[in-house]
Amino acid sequence: MIEYLIDGPLWYFSLAVFVIGVVWQLVSIVFASRKQDLSVARDSATSGAIRTIFTRFVPHKEISSQITIQVVAGYLFHLGLFALLFFAAPHVVFLEHNLLGFGWTPMPHWAFIVSAQAAFLGLIFLWLRRMVNPVSRLISTLDDHVAAILTFVVMLTGCFALLEGSTGLRLLHRFSVELWLIYFPFSALMHTFTFIPSRAFTGAWFGRRGIDA
């Protein structure tokens, strides 16, 4: 019964909430009403937007030494999670059979292990830094902690189910993924998609005013 629920209705429900929720949020952002900018353009807003999307991948020189932990841990976590999500052999097979109808070459097992370890170390570092730094702790909300913990649980149950020999562990991982998908559109996890329009908006605003930032 539980197996049927997790593999069937709950999976489709969580997927629907995720897709509809993400699309709804992005459409809301794109079509949000904004004040018309009446200032005389000093430079191109478009080039400013494109430039900022990419330059923000590297920290500013002035503060880079102060945020080394966040930058290194951030890259470890995000690149590790990306590799796990799209190149782990079980995920490639799952996406091929259940969603896309086509697959691609998965990464070897050793790369899977290294990616998982990088992602875990990065996430633990980021969350601890959020907890120990007084400023980060003050500006963190309950949502930030729930999102981090839920992501950690998804990764942990995935690592538990690595052998693919236990139905119980597979269901536990899938159930945690379903909770994560349902939570995703209403949380800080949306930065997966919103970081691009967010950077573009800031870049366009600066670009139009001729600010090099």
Binding site: F120, F125, V132, L138, A161, L162, L163
Partner: protein
């Protein structure tokens, strides 16, 4: 021709007749393998020889010529009978002693109570490194203990189905998190090694049992002798655990069964020692000693705590005027002056 055929038949049948009608006593061949109850005797000889018997196999690899590894059986018995039994008893005994100590002695208070005036002790990075190591260590300790003690302790409680899931999850989690322990350990070594070098005055702390023996105060620097010893235990035993763990988790670098068995024993004994001592560390760093947790929680400690437990470092803080008043500390923590836990406790102390 007929005679030759008859002799051949007799020659072929004689051994069979001898086997069928022979006396019940054992027949030993020169090679030392009995033919009585052929299967049992043969396998017993293969398994229980004093020396390791190696043969020839088409399979090329480490130990591939060994049919049955008798030492593997010894290792399995040692693991089941001694390692898990005494390891479990050892950890339980340490836990019981600490509970008893807390019941008898209670929380060790700071003489004069907390002042609310703080000194900076650890940076954000140092605390992140400490807690990363702590989280990874606890995860590995729990999963490792499930693997070591799960069969006698958890199997009767949860049943085979649940325990198999738990054991499988623990094995995968333990193997995946193991290398993270080594990474955290190296970061710990780099961040804290210099301040944990032994110096003059540390032996006095040890002779006074950290203040438990006699009435005199046990003098300590930034880290006292007990903390330094715990630190080097973590680094050195931790490295032994990590390296033996890597030998176990990567059995494709030419290591044979003997090295694997030894690595497992070393890994487990080292882990049991660290887990047992870490219970004491966790106790003293939290409920056992007033004001101790603040250092790793906020990065700051009360100056009275520094004077009580690390007087030589406390003296430097006084001399160099490193003390931060309570109001300033509250501002640094983003709190309204007078609202910190330390202030409340300090008021209670007065």
């Amino acid at each position: 021709m007929k005679i030759q055929t008859l002799l051949l038949l007799v020659g072929l049948l004689l051994p069979q007749l001898a086997l069928a009608d022979g006396p019940p006593e054992q027949k030993n061949f020169p090679q030392g393998v009995s033919t009585e109850r052929l299967g049992d005797e043969l396998w017993r000889e293969v398994r229980q020889r004093d020396m390791q018997s190696s043969g020839i196999s088409q399979v090329k690899g480490v130990d591939s010529g060994i049919l049955i590894n008798a030492r593997g059986d010894q290792w399995a018995r040692f693991r089941m009978d001694q390692l898990s039994t005494f390891g479990g008893i050892g950890i339980a005994a340490i836990f019981a002693i600490i509970v008893l100590f807390y019941v008898v002695r209670g929380r060790v208070p700071i003489e004069g109570g907390l002042s609310g005036n703080m000194v900076h002790r650890f940076t954000d990075y140092e605390r992140v490194v400490h807690w990363t190591l702590a989280i990874v260590f606890l995860f590995l300790a729990i999963t490792g203990l499930i693997l070591l003690l799960g069969r006698p302790l958890l199997l009767p409680l949860f049943g085979k189905e649940v325990f198999s899931i738990l054991a499988s999850a623990s094995k995968e989690g333990h193997n995946l998190f193991g290398p993270l322990f080594l990474v955290s350990l190296i970061m710990m070594l780099i961040s804290f090694a210099r301040r944990n070098l032994y110096e003059r005055g540390d032996m006095t702390w040890l002779l006074k049992g950290g203040g438990l023996i006699g009435d005199g105060h046990a003098s300590g620097g930034f880290f006292n002798m007990g903390e330094k010893t715990w630190y080097w235990m973590v680094i050195l035993i931790g490295l032994v655990i990590a390296i033996s763990g890597l030998i176990l988790v990567s059995p494709n670098f030419g290591q044979g069964r003997l090295i694997m068995g030894l690595s497992h024993v070393v890994h487990t004994i080292g882990a049991i020692i660290l887990i047992a001592v870490s219970i004491g560390h966790m106790y003293l760093g939290s409920i056992g000693s007033e004001g101790a947790l603040e250092g790793m929680k906020t990065g700051y400690v009360d100056i009275n705590w520094a004077d009580a437990h690390h007087d030589r470092w406390g003296k430097v803080c006084h001399e160099e005027n490193l003390i931060i008043p309570a109001e300033e500390y509250a501002r640094l923590q983003g709190q309204k002056p007078g609202s910190t836990d330390e202030m409340a406790t300090a008021e209670q102390g007065k």
